[in-house]
Amino acid sequence: MHELGIIVHVIRTVEEVGEENHLTEVRSVTCEIGEVSGVVPEYLTDCWQYARRKSELLKDSELKIEILPGVTVCEDCGKTYSTVKYAKQCPYCESYATHLVQGNGFSIKEIEGA
């Protein structure tokens, strides 16, 4: 259900970009999904199949997904590590003073259209 909200937002944005660029047809939309964004790619594709048909511009388009890895930085030792593997605690110095630098986002990277 979460994914449906995102797709609605994506379609709205692509339609805006399509209008600005005078597109009449979009062949594909590439999205970059953070590994720890909580977004499930399979659900996203399902929602896309449902929602694209309602848009004249996007009805025959494909959703392409690229995964961006989750990276956390430690504020104490300054090293970065995989968020999925080690979560909140730094594997190098065991500090909990860490924060995510990449991987919780969701963005539209590019559109292929005419």
Binding site: H2, L4, G5, V14, E110
Partner: protein, 224 residues
């Protein structure tokens, strides 16, 4: 044959929402309306907690409640019975509210004359944590029967909340494996600035401190 080309977009969906949320926060600030985004799992006691909170504060400040629900208005009816203004926002199947939906609710509701508005988010510990609603502060309720391990399972929710209410403390005798110390430690590890109150919406235990927090926050928000 159409000439297809690639257009770089580079628009972040979450960032769009974050920017929109910041705008809404500024709009609310200029109106002097404090918006509290209240989150929890279904059945943690959001509506009961609200009813008791309202009864303690309604003579001191103008309160409004926006109930977000997938599809029903039982909660808005319960809140309206306390005498404060309430509306129901249907999310139409969506599992969370974003800033745009919150703004639509706020505008329809008309909050300009209100001091304190509570947005009762959809009962869910995952999705609402990921979308900034534009609220002034975030609060969540964790009830004792849910277990003291929830901060470990839903870290994002606990890390974005300014306040955590541990509700149903009257049942600690029954759920005796729930450790107040453990839950506190787990929350503070994720979020060192979180304010934690142990309460019971049923008996009223701990509500004075919670009401004081609201009084102080709303007052300082409206003064600066």
């Amino acid at each position: 044959m159409k000439d297809f080309k690639v257009i770089e977009v580079k628009r972040s969906i979450f960032e769009d929402n974050n920017a929109d949320a910041d705008n809404l926060r500024a709009e609310l600030k200029s109106e002097g309306t404090f918006l509290l985004n209240l989150m929890s799992s279904p059945g943690a006691g959001k509506t009961t907690t609200l009813k008791r909170t309202i009864s303690m504060l309604k003579d001191e400040m103008k309160i409004g409640v926006m109930e977000a629900d997938i599809d029903s208005d039982v909660d808005a009816e319960a809140i309206a019975a306390t005498g404060v203004r309430a509306i129901q926002i249907h999310t139409g199947g969506m599992c969370h509210l974003d800033a745009d939906m919150t703004r639509q609710g706020i505008r329809e509701f008309g909050t300009k004359d209100l001091d304190f508005v509570v947005l009762e988010n959809v009962g869910n510990l995952v999705c609402p944590a990921e979308f900034d609603t534009g609220s002034t502060k975030n609060a969540m309720i964790l009830s004792v029967p849910e277990g003291d391990d929830k901060p470990l399972k839903y870290p994002l929710m606990f890390s974005i909340c300014d306040v955590v209410l541990i509700n149903k403390c009257d049942t600690l005798g029954v759920f005796d494996d729930f450790s107040k110390e453990a839950v506190k430690e787990r929350i503070l590890k994720l979020n060192p600035y979180a304010k934690i109150f142990f309460v019971s919406a049923k008996t009223g235990e701990g509500f004075e401190d919670w009401a004081d927090w609201i009084r102080t926050e709303v007052q300082s928000y409206q003064q600066d």
